[in-house]
C-alpha cells in the first residue's frame, strides 16, 4: 500500500471551539476513503483545512511525501488535490464547458500576448483545452450540456459538473463533499457508478457522505469523526461493528 495523503495531528479551532483535534489518517493510493460522522463532527472542516480554504492551526498534510503549502489553495491544487462542495459552488454564469476549462487552468500556460496575437501555439492550446474539457464532460455524462450556462443545469447535472471541474485539475486525490446530497435513488446509483469509474482510472477518492449505503458499498476504508476527533478507522464492516461508532453515529441511524 502506497500512502498518497497523510494527515498528521491536524488541529483546527474556531475561537473557543475545537473543530478538529489531532486528526491523523493515511489515505492509500487508488482507494476510496470514506469520512463519516454525525453533523458537525468536523468532516467539511477537514476538507477546508486540507484544501487550504481555512488556515491550519496545528499539524500538517503530507502528499506524496511532501508537505502541502499552508494557506495557498491554488498551490494545493497544483499538488494534485481537487474538491467539490457540499453546497454546489459552480461558476454559475459560465457554461458547463467553461467551468471545466477554468478547472483546467492550472495545467495550462498560454499567456496574454499569445491570445491577443492569436499565435498558433495559443490557439493550439485553446483547442486542446476545449477538446479535453469536452472529454471530461462526456466522462461524467453531461457532454450534451457543454454550452449550457451552469445555473440552468439540473441539480444532478450540477453535481456532475462539479466533479468534472475538479477532474479537470488532473487530481491524484479527488475530495467529494456529500456528492449524493439531495439526489434521488437513480441519481445516487449513477453517481456511484461514476465514482467507481474514477477509481478504476487511478484517481484516489476521499468521500464525505451521509448516505450509509453508499459509503458501505463504495469505500475501501472509512474513518469516523465525532466532535472533531477520529474515533475509528477500518473497513466499512469493521467500523460498523465498532461500539464507539455505533454509539456516536450508526446507532442513532439504526434507531430511526
Amino acid at each position: 500500500m502506497i500512502t498518497l495523503l497523510e494527515s498528521r495531528t491536524v488541529n483546527k479551532r474556531f475561537g473557543g471551539l475545537q473543530a478538529l483535534t489531532d486528526v491523523s489518517l493515511k489515505i492509500h493510493r487508488g482507494e476510496v476513503y470514506g469520512l463519516i460522522g454525525p453533523n458537525g463532527a468536523g468532516k467539511t472542516t477537514f476538507f477546508n483545512v486540507l484544501t487550504g480554504a481555512y488556515p491550519i492551526d496545528g499539524g500538517e498534510f503530507v502528499m506524496n511525501g511532501a508537505e502541502l503549502p499552508a494557506g495557498k489553495p491554488h498551490r494545493i491544487v497544483a499538488h494534485g488535490i481537487a474538491r467539490t462542495f457540499q453546497n454546489i459552488r459552480l461558476f454559475r454564469e459560465l457554461t458547463a464547458l467553461e467551468n471545466v476549462m477554468a478547472g483546467h487552468h492550472i495545467r495550462t500556460s498560454a499567456g496574454v500576448w499569445g491570445i491577443l496575437a492569436q499565435s498558433r501555439a495559443a490557439r493550439e492550446e485553446e483547442r486542446l483545452v476545449t477538446e479535453r474539457a469536452l472529454e471530461i464532460l462526456d466522462y461524467v455524462g453531461i457532454g450534451r450540456h457543454a454550452d449550457t450556462v451552469a445555473r440552468n443545469l439540473s441539480y444532478g447535472d450540477q453535481r456532475r459538473l462539479e466533479i468534472a471541474r475538479a477532474l479537470a485539475t488532473e487530481p491524484q486525490l479527488l475530495a467529494l463533499d456529500e456528492p449524493a446530497a439531495g439526489m434521488n435513488a437513480t441519481e445516487t446509483a449513477g453517481l456511484r457508478a461514476l465514482i467507481e469509474t474514477i477509481r478504476a482510472d487511478g484517481v484516489t477518492v476521499l468521500l464525505i457522505e451521509h448516505d450509509v449505503k453508499l459509503i458501505m458499498g463504495l469505500c475501501d476504508r472509512v474513518a469516523v469523526l465525532d466532535f472533531g476527533k477520529k474515533i475509528a478507522e477500518g473497513t466499512p464492516a469493521e467500523v460498523q461493528r465498532d461500539p464507539g461508532v455505533i454509539r456516536a453515529y450508526l446507532g442513532d441511524h439504526r434507531a430511526h
Partner: protein
C-alpha cells in the same frame, strides 16, 4: 443635419475615451465589488508621464518624428501605470479584501487624493500644453462637418483596444480565470486559479487602458495637469453605471452613449434652454444621466443581478 453628424463624431471621440476608462472601473468592480475611485488618477498619471517622456525625448533627440514621440510616450506611460495599478492593489486593497465594503472604498478615495497630491508636487499646479503629435488640423469630408486625424486615431485605437479586451476576456485562459474569479474568488482558488494573480492582472490591464485613455484625452484637448483625471474619472464611472457596472460590453456601450448624450447636449443646449445655458454646461448631462439611471434602472442598460453582487 451637419450639426447632427458633427455632434455624433465629437460624441464618439469623447465616448470612446470614457469607455476605455469605464472598462477599468467595471473590471475591478466585477471581480472585487470595489469601486476604485483612484482609477481616474491613473488617467492623469498616464497623460503626465507620457508628456514628460515626450518633452524629454524631444529635447534630448531633436528632430524625432511626432509619431515616434507619441509612441515613446505611450511605451513609457502604459507600463508605468500598470505598475502603479498593481502597487495600489497590492498595498492598498489586498489587505482589505475581507474587510467591510466601506473600508476599501474609503481607501480608494484616499489613494485618489494621494496620487493627485503627488502629481501636484512633481508636475506643479499649472496646466501643461500637451503637444499635438497627430495632426489636429480639421478636414471636411462632408460640407460643414470637420474631423481631424487625431479624432479618427482616437476612435480607431479605442475600438481596437476594446476588441482586444473582449477577445482576452471571452476567449483566453486568463479571461476565463477572470470570469471565474469574478464569480467567487475563493472557489476559483480552490479550483487551482491563483486568485491574487488574476486580481492583480485585472488592475494591470485596467490601468494600462486608463494610461492610453489619458494619452488620448490629453492629445485631443492639448492639455495635461494634476487634476485632469477627476472629471473623466467621474464620467467614466457614470458610464460604467449606465452600462451596468461589472458588465464589460455595458461599460463600452455606456461610455459611447454618455459621450453622445453629452455631445448632443452641448450642441443643442442653447436651443433647449432658449439661450439661457451654453455648451460649457455640457457636464450636467452626464450627471443627470447618472441620477436617472440610479433612479429608474439601477442595474444599468446591460446589467443584471446588481443586488446579488452587492
Amino acid at each position: 443635419m451637419e450639426t447632427l453628424l458633427q455632434q455624433t463624431l465629437n460624441g464618439l471621440v469623447a465616448g470612446s475615451i470614457y469607455a476605455l476608462v469605464a472598462l477599468g472601473y467595471t473590471m475591478v468592480y466585477g471581480i472585487l465589488g470595489l469601486i476604485n475611485f483612484a482609477h481616474g488618477e491613473i488617467v492623469m498619471v498616464g497623460a503626465l508621464v507620457a508628456l514628460q517622456t515626450i518633452l524629454f525625448l524631444s529635447s534630448a533627440v531633436p528632430g524625432l518624428p511626432p509619431l515616434v514621440l507619441l509612441l515613446a510616450g505611450v511605451v513609457v506611460a502604459v507600463p508605468a501605470c500598470m505598475a502603479l495599478g498593481y502597487l495600489i492593489e497590492r498595498i492598498g486593497y489586498r489587505r482589505l479584501r475581507n474587510a467591510p465594503r466601506l473600508a476599501p472604498l474609503i481607501t480608494a478615495i484616499g489613494v485618489s487624493f494621494l496620487l493627485q497630491t503627488l502629481a501636484m508636487i512633481i508636475w506643479g499646479r499649472e496646466f501643461h500644453v500637451f503637444p499635438q503629435l497627430i495632426d489636429t488640423a480639421p478636414m471636411q469630408p462632408v460640407d460643414g462637418v470637420v474631423v481631424s486625424p487625431m479624432q479618427i486615431f482616437t476612435i480607431v485605437v479605442a475600438f481596437t483596444l476594446m476588441g482586444g479586451l473582449m477577445l482576452l476576456v471571452n476567449k483566453s485562459r486568463l479571461g476565463r480565470a477572470m470570469r471565474a474569479t469574478a464569480e467567487n474568488h475563493r472557489v476559483a482558488g480552490l479550483m487551482g486559479i491563483n486568485a491574487n494573480g488574476v486580481i492583480a492582472a485585472t488592475f494591470i490591464i485596467g490601468s494600462g487602458l486608463a494610461a492610453l485613455a489619458g494619452v488620448l484625452f490629453a492629445s485631443n484637448y492639448a492639455i495635461a495637469h494634476y487634476s485632469m483625471g477627476f472629471t473623466p474619472g467621474l464620467k467614466a464611472f457614470t458610464a460604467a453605471v449606465l452600462g451596468g457596472i461589472g458588465n464589460l460590453p455595458g461599460a463600452m456601450v455606456g461610455g459611447l452613449v454618455l459621450g453622445l448624450v453629452e455631445s448632443f447636449g452641448a450642441g443643442y443646449i442653447e436651443h433647449l434652454s432658449f439661450g439661457f445655458l451654453n455648451s460649457s454646461y455640457q457636464d450636467i448631462f452626464a450627471f443627470m444621466i447618472l441620477g436617472a439611471v440610479l433612479i429608474f434602472r439601477p442595474s444599468g442598460l446591460l446589467g443584471e443581478r446588481v443586488a446579488d453582487r452587492a
